[in-house]
Symmetry: C2
Amino acid sequence: MVENKKNRRRGDQLQNDIYQAAYNLLKKEGYTNLTFSKIAKAAQTSRSVIYRYWDTPFDLVFEMIHNQMKDSGQIANTNLNGKNLQENLFIIGKSLTTGFNIVLTEFNKMMLSEMIEQPQKIHKLFDEINTGNLQIIDAALQMAIDNKEIKFMPSQQVRLSLFHLIRYSYVIENHNLDDAQLLELINEIVLPAIVASQK
Amino acid sequence: MVENKKNRRRGDQLQNDIYQAAYNLLKKEGYTNLTFSKIAKAAQTSRSVIYRYWDTPFDLVFEMIHNQMKDSGQIANTNLNGKNLQENLFIIGKSLTTGFNIVLTEFNKMMLSEMIEQPQKIHKLFDEINTGNLQIIDAALQMAIDNKEIKFMPSQQVRLSLFHLIRYSYVIENHNLDDAQLLELINEIVLPAIVASQK
DNA sequence: ATAAATAAGATACTTTGAGTATCTTATTGA
DNA sequence: TCAATAAGATACTCAAAGTATCTTATTTAT
């Protein structure tokens, strides 16, 4: 059976194949080397098709990640079944660090390098991320309030510190915290800040 | 008086002029749009001259920043004349935030976007930065020990938290902390972590 | 069932910059 | 003052951006 060269993918299927090709290239060669030409070749389509959907590789990857987030649901539905606040913070931190992958890292770097040109888009995305992060940590803190571990909500800066420090390590220093380091971070910085906020 | 087209800059002067041109372009258009062609045109020299000194725009800017750091001496010589640990932490944080400028920001983003291709160089630089940061905060903490404010040095993670959180805000969220936010960061996170480390 | 609309895919062209190589010429310093 | 060195000009190939035009497979509506 000879393959029929005339089969044409369309719409969502075509877009997903292109995303997949871009994903693999991003993983292999990084954002700097990502071009429409390479993506088209990898996805076995034409450059003109890609131009019809996206203006730049940035737009393509941006929408790819957004798409991916929609499907995977992010950490928002993490199951907070720790027996106290410390354990729930660990669960949250852990789900953040394991959620990292090379494409998200490349995406982070890409966003930073494009910040000067796409500030609106990127600020909006960080707002989305912070909102999601606050949702999950606020759930953990509310449980701690219900359990009388703490009395009231700390400031936003304190509530986001866990995420910011993990993300600093991962995005900027290119290092994913192991369990011991995550625990250290929680015990030495995040929990003391929460405790101090209660006075 | 007609200008003499045959005057040739050389060595350090030429390099500094090229750095200056690159600096202005970086500030105006960001790292993504920085090309040897544009730099050469802006510096009124030839592309081949630039290739003789650097392999890529990344290398050029990397060395430019290193050069600039050498001259300005960084925050290492900050004068810690606060009357207690809290004031000295504020002085340190302040000198970090005021030391930021658009070129350093672009540089940070550039480094992140090149991390996949230049990991050695960049890890080395982050080590340098952390070492410098530890030097200055350790000086402040040693003064606090001498004054009996604290008894011993906190862990490295705690000592670097001030820098990491400031840098997170600046590099990743593109937002420079004002005095009130810096003070909040110190009072709500850094100092509680230091205090907790004393038990 | 077929025609019209739509989207995929091929191709061609211009422009820009990377990277390399070669040449001339200004400047330095032995 | 002459040889060595570095600046600067120029020319070439290649890859990719961006745009435009054309054909053709597939879908949709009649």
